[in-house]
């Protein structure tokens, strides 16, 4: 397998990744920034004086031609300058960086717990195929898919905050108060996010494992004298990871969405809460950059999943030729 074929494949994927990012920036710019009158009207309201409109138009650079504003924005993004928030009078980059300190740990913890729950229950259900344990896991996952994560979050607050007083009903003490305090504030949000995501992923894991278990090479491996457990770990899991990984990549977008919603439930000062405050404050510059950041994250994750396929599945390496 010549390495140049793989690098050509990777190069193509990378070009597509960059093109998608550019397209996303164009769409976001078109929706939020192309209509100069609208942005200022939205920000100042309809009763604004003409002088105020002119002043804000100039301050935001909206009197320049659209292509110049677009290039200015994208150029700024590349150099880490996202402009100024009108409502906070602070660089948008600082605002977002501050909020990411809550959102990123929350998303990572939720993803980790999701994977743990999904692989555990999925493998368990597959190994008890059509027995009581399997039916129980599948029924529970069907319920998990139907429950909105924000409702589960409220129910968790009801039980653990209102009744048991184990956790606070929301808010975030900040990492300065110590890592333990910060993590404690993220426990309920993480559980609310992960249970719903894991319900879907556990079903995928189960059917992927069952599918692979029927393959000839599994029988061959068993015939070679490998134990059930060894076959499961060495052959089945690796092959079953391909569909599981696909769904994990697709789920990332809903995890990101879920994080935004759950931040609102627990009033966690993350990126999600920032964007809602920005909408309330009519702070379009912040909305534009946060939306771009989220879209870029989804696109980047999909790109990484594509790369992981190549690493996991040797057949795809051949297919890339």
């Amino acid at each position: 397998m010549p390495g140049s074929v793989i690098s050509l494949f990777l190069l193509k994927r990378f070009a597509a990744f960059i093109a998608t990012l550019l397209a996303a920036s164009l769409v976001i710019f078109a929706v939020l920034a192309l209509l100069p009158g609208t942005v200022v009207e939205v920000m100042l309201g309809e009763t604004a004086s003409p002088e105020a409109v002119v002043a804000l138009t100039h301050k935001l650079g909206l009197d320049q031609p659209a292509w110049q504003r677009y290039l200015h924005w994208v150029g700024g993004l590349l150099s880490g300058d996202m402009g100024m928030s009108v409502a906070y009078d602070t660089p948008v980059r600082e605002l977002i960086a501050e909020r990411l300190a809550v959102t990123v740990p929350l998303a990572l913890m939720a993803m980790a717990l999701t994977t743990l729950l999904a692989l555990g229950f999925g493998l368990y259900a597959a190994s008890r195929h059509n027995q009581l344990g399997d039916v129980g896991v599948m029924a529970a996952s069907q319920l998990g898919i139907a429950v909105p994560s924000f409702w589960l979050a409220i129910l968790l607050i009801l039980l653990f905050s209102v009744k048991l007083h184990w956790f606070s009903a929301g808010g975030f003490p900040g990492w300065d108060e110590g890592i333990a305090q910060g993590l404690k504030a993220l426990v309920l949000p993480t559980v609310a996010l992960a249970v719903v995501q894991a319900a879907i992923l556990a079903r995928i894991t189960r059917s992927a494992v069952l599918e692979v278990l029927r393959e000839d090479f599994v029988r061959t491996a068993r015939a070679r004298g490998l134990s059930r457990r060894a076959v499961l770990w060495r052959h089945v899991l690796r092959n079953a990871m391909i569909p599981v990984l696909t769904v994990m990549g697709l789920q990332f977008a809903s995890l990101l969405t879920g994080t935004v919603v759950v931040e609102k439930v627990f009033t966690l000062p993350g990126v999600g809460l920032l964007v809602f405050q920005a909408i309330a404050n009519r702070d379009i510059v912040v909305v534009q950059n946060v939306v771009m950041l989220m879209a870029a994250t989804v696109i980047a994750i999909n790109f990484i999943v594509d790369l992981l396929y190549v690493a996991i599945d040797p057949r795809l390496k051949a297919g890339a030729a």
């Binding site: 939205v42 319920l143 009903a169």
Partner: protein, 277 residues
Amino acid sequence: MSFARRALRHRSFAIGSVLVMLLLATAALSLLWTPHAATEIDVPNKLLLPNASHWLGTDSLGRDIVSLLIVGSRNAIAAGLIAVGIGLGAGVAAGLLAAARRGWVDELLMRAADFTFAFPALLTAIMLTAIHGPGLVTSVVAIGIFNIPVFARITRAAALGVWARDYVLASRACGKGAWYITIAHVLPNIASVLIVQATIQFAVAILAEAALSYLGLGTQPPEPSWGRMLNEAQTMIFQAPQLAIYPGLAIALSVLGLNLMGDGLRDLLDPKLSRTR
């Protein structure tokens, strides 16, 4: 065995259908009758516990919970219908076109579909709300846009399978055009796949609309919606925790019903498609 008998014996389809019927019946009922006027504010009777007049009690403004739930079902159904309608209309057309034309048309449409996946309904809703303000229409359009690539991909994949069949080859040999084959052969043969997916996306739309309403990006007061009822309930969580239960239950049961029905339909309409079990 006839379809109806198989359907009755399929456990998840039967349970799902009952739940979906219940949802539809509730919405129909809301047009004719509710125990109280759903938007009627009655502050002296606020936060009542369940009693003979208010079966599930009242909220912080004294509105009857049962009536709010019944009227809220209309919103859920409207969200599902419009969002799935947008997805089906644009997505199926794109998928059929991609499968019939192949080549650069296919490539272009599928790249566009991939691209749309980068904009979850929430992101689109945030952008639209920032410019146009919140509302049921804004939120449902955002959900509908995300449905387009879902239907486009599934249509294309299923349609390509039909195009590879011998009877399509025969039809082409008889001089039939791509347009005729698409309508006469492809569409009828992929209909069951689309029906199953539409059921699932209906459930997804109800969940998404509830979330957007909870966030304040969807249905606006005084129009009752399950998502916003949960938002209001959360502010009362220490005084009246029971309020946070009912709307969530209504959402979960509706979504569960649609998902079970979708799973059941998948088995019933095409046994080959049924998932590993």
